[in-house]
């Protein structure tokens, strides 16, 4: 058993370090220059460090899947604060979908521009009356003289107000039954038929938008997969396995912040971290965090070695959600009066107290997660009414 990637990867890590040494930071030290970022990114792609799963002809570096190498690249690029060719997370969803289901033309037209950030994507799945239950989508698309005409409304579309395009599930076959009537369409949001309305959250931030389609148009051939098969197109993109280590870092840093907070702020006259109740609660949270961490390493190792990750695979999201809620409650106890001041030094913790809730909503509520665990990991019977699609 070993936690590192082991000697067989040391050479690779050296290569990556050497590459970084040579290319980042830029000579003039200007880390913000778009031009530098672009040059670096192209060099990194050329070396096979970024966009590894994307064919060269679409602007990627076309490497064999290898979580270990990908993870080493992520680690070292992060340490070096080098541009990691990161594209908006929704872009991360559309690229593999296009690669798996798209036509050569679609891939050629969309992927490279997405990688370079020229195209920014919004997801168009949820609707006011279809939250977890995508089968009851109503937004409709009709093929009229060579183009799709789209009418309806999407909601919870992350960053749509900053996006150029949307990949959307649209009902194109009104007569087909629920799942079979849906197609996966690509839509340019920069047209008169599209109205985007950002939704303010309880934290005052605006991450999500409502998107209204009023005879919006999109070319006939901007459909991904067959008509009425949009359902299967989306589901397939959900299965792309990834190392959970990226997600971990978020929980770990939130906990580090909490410990820092507990050291700095007094509670009943001494630093909160010396208050036995809080001290013990911090240790209990750390115990869960360690469980998550090493089970994630274990799962990653399984993927690296092509073994089944077992029960754990359905669990990280709900586990992290519960951890975030637990962490933010301790923070609440520590910040005390600061809990009321939305312009104060503890705003971050007020926001986390609230955002820890949105975690249990976004991308499948916690109850949906529980169904996933119960059905996929424990093999319990599905709800008769199929609360898991």
């Amino acid at each position: 058993m070993q936690l590192g990637f082991g000697p067989e990867f040391d050479d690779f890590r050296q290569e990556v370090l050497a590459f970084l040494l040579e290319h980042w930071p830029p000579a003039d030290g200007n880390l913000r220059s778009k031009e530098h970022e672009r040059t670096f990114t192209l060099a990194a792609i050329d070396r096979g460090y970024l966009h590894r799963s994307v064919p060269k002809r679409f602007g990627g570096s076309e490497q064999a899947p290898d979580i270990a190498r990908a993870e080493i690249i992520r680690e070292e690029f992060t340490k070096a604060r080098a541009p990691s060719g990161r594209i908006a997370s929704t872009g991360k969803l559309v690229v593999p979908t296009l690669l798996e289901w798209g036509t050569e033309e679609q891939c050629a037209y969309f992927i490279e521009k997405t990688l370079t950030g020229e195209f920014v994507w919004a997801q168009g799945f949820s609707e006011p009356n279809a939250g977890s239950d995508l089968a009851s989508l109503r937004t409709k698309g009709e093929l009229l003289d060579g183009q799709w005409v789209i009418n309806g409304q999407k909601i919870w579309s992350t960053g749509a107000h900053k996006a150029t395009h949307m990949f959307a599930l649209v009902r194109t076959e009104p007569d087909a039954k629920k799942h079979d009537g849906i197609s996966y369409l690509l839509i340019d949001l920069r047209q008169p038929g599209v109205t985007i309305r950002p939704l303010a959250q309880m934290t005052r931030q605006k991450e999500f938008s409502e998107v209204f389609f009023d005879d919006a148009k999109t070319p006939a051939d901007w459909i991904v997969g067959e008509r009425g098969k949009g359902w299967y197109v989306t589901r397939s993109t959900l299965k792309h396995e990834r190392s959970g280590i990226g997600g971990l870092t978020w929980s770990l840093s939130m906990f580090r912040d909490l410990v820092k907070l507990a050291r700095l702020v007094d509670y009943n006259g001494k630093p909160a971290i010396e208050c036995p109740r809080i001290r013990e609660e911090l240790a209990a949270i750390e115990g869960q965090l360690m469980s998550l961490t090493y089970s994630t390493y274990r799962a990653t190792s399984h993927i690296v070695h092509d073994r089944d990750t077992g029960m754990f695979s359905t669990m990280p999201k709900l586990y992290m959600t519960n951890l975030a809620q637990r962490i933010s409650k301790v923070a609440r106890d520590i910040v005390g009066d600061g809990f009321l001041d939305m312009s104060g030094e503890h705003l971050k913790w007020i926001e986390r107290f609230m955002i820890s809730l949105s975690m249990s909503i976004a991308g499948g509520t916690s109850n949906i997660q529980r169904n996933l665990i119960a059905e996929r990991s424990l093999g319990l019977p599905r709800d008769a009414r199929g609360a898991v699609q």
């Binding site: 919870w156 009943n268 609360a387």
Partner: protein, 356 residues
């Protein structure tokens, strides 16, 4: 045994509820929450007209001469509607004068407070969780200097009852103090930082025991508001679960959510008896009042804050938006939870008071 509201109490509630239904609906609350008005003056003047500021003021001074329980059930009702009015600070301010004021102070102020011609508030907190008399460091006297935080509607108040090392001080508007509005989470009850700097003030004769009574009443009103808010959160969430459909049926038919709502109700409903008892003890069982008030404040405000979280989760995305009422209740719950000190503080006080 008659642990119930009296017919008069019920009648009072029945008279006020329609006013709130008409003038304090969700839309109106959002309007005040998002706007610049410090509170809903129109609604407040209706509530004043119905005698709400007069509830506990002696009849001799133009009040209704009622008890804390009568005040607390109104606090519950206003909490249920998340009413954006200066009820809380004003009620405790008036009670302070009633309990701790000199004959002259009572004669000067109580009649004006009973009619709502004057608005009072209270300045207790000194920051970093210092809320209680034993922790007050601002020195008393006929001129006071120091800073008080999280003071309800100080900018609007005509007089401020200030907790000092030496007792309660009465400071009139215009006596020369600075107020700075806090960007407080709960915009239905605005808060200020108040800086006194050689500000003219009048000490009130009330002794430590009297001030403790005032603190207990404050804790009880916060518990009552919390209970009212929590019950509304439950009601709203249950209603939503009945109408919101997913997978072809109301989400409230899914046993998973159903049991979560049952657990939510199980936490909320029984806490009614606790705040009732705290108010009743304050009125009639003085030796039980301190402990009961500490327990009510701790338990009811904890339950409220969790209830607002449960409400958001059950509503899904819509419950997380600014447009929905959920965040207004959550922020009121944050107010009730924080103001006068968090539950943990009051539980440890309750343990001491229980003689453990």
């Amino acid at each position: 045994m008659n642990f119930l509201l009296s017919d008069d109490q019920q009648a009072f509630l029945d008279a006020i509820r329609p006013v709130l239904n008409d003038r304090c609906d969700s839309q109106q609350v959002h309007k005040i929450f998002d706007g610049d008005d410090p509170y809903d003056t129109a609604l407040w003047s209706h509530l004043v007209a119905m005698g709400i500021p007069a509830i506990m003021i002696d009849k001799a001074h133009g009040g209704l001469g009622l008890q804390l329980l009568d005040l607390a059930i109104i606090a519950e009702l206003l909490g249920e509607f998340a009413a954006p009015v200066p009820f809380f600070g004003n009620a405790i301010g008036a009670l302070a004068i009633q309990l701790a004021g000199s004959a002259e102070q009572r004669a000067n102020w109580l009649p004006l407070l009973a009619t709502g011609e004057r608005l009072a508030t209270i300045a207790f907190g000194e920051g970093k969780g210092r809320w209680l008399p034993g922790e007050w460091e601002v020195p008393g006297g006929n001129s006071i200097s120091g800073t008080k935080v999280l003071v309800p509607n100080a900018a609007e108040a005509d007089l401020i009852i200030v907790g000092t090392r030496d007792g309660l001080a009465l400071v009139e508007r215009g006596a020369g103090y600075k107020t700075a509005r806090t960007d407080s989470a709960d915009r239905t009850r605005r808060l200020d930082i108040v800086t006194f700097d050689g500000t003219a003030s009048e000490m009130m004769p009330g002794d430590g025991a009297t001030i403790d009574r005032l603190i207990d009443a404050t804790a009880t009103l916060l518990a009552a508001d919390a209970f009212g808010g929590a019950t509304r959160c439950l009601e709203r969430t249950v209603d939503y679960a009945k109408v919101r459909e997913q997978y072809g049926q109301p989400i409230g038919a899914f046993q998973g959510l159903k049991h979560q709502l049952a657990n939510m109700a199980l936490e909320i409903e029984p806490s009614r008896g606790l705040y009732w008892f705290a108010a009743h003890a304050w009125d009639d069982l003085p030796d039980k009042a301190r402990h009961a008030a500490a327990q009510a404040k701790a338990h009811c405000t904890d339950v409220y804050l969790q209830a607002t979280r449960d409400m958001v989760e059950a509503h899904g995305g819509i419950g997380f938006t600014w447009e929905h009422d959920a965040h207004i209740y959550m922020k009121r719950a944050m107010f009730d939870w924080t103001w006068l000190g968090q539950p943990s503080l009051h539980r440890l006080r309750a343990a001491d008071l229980a003689g453990w």
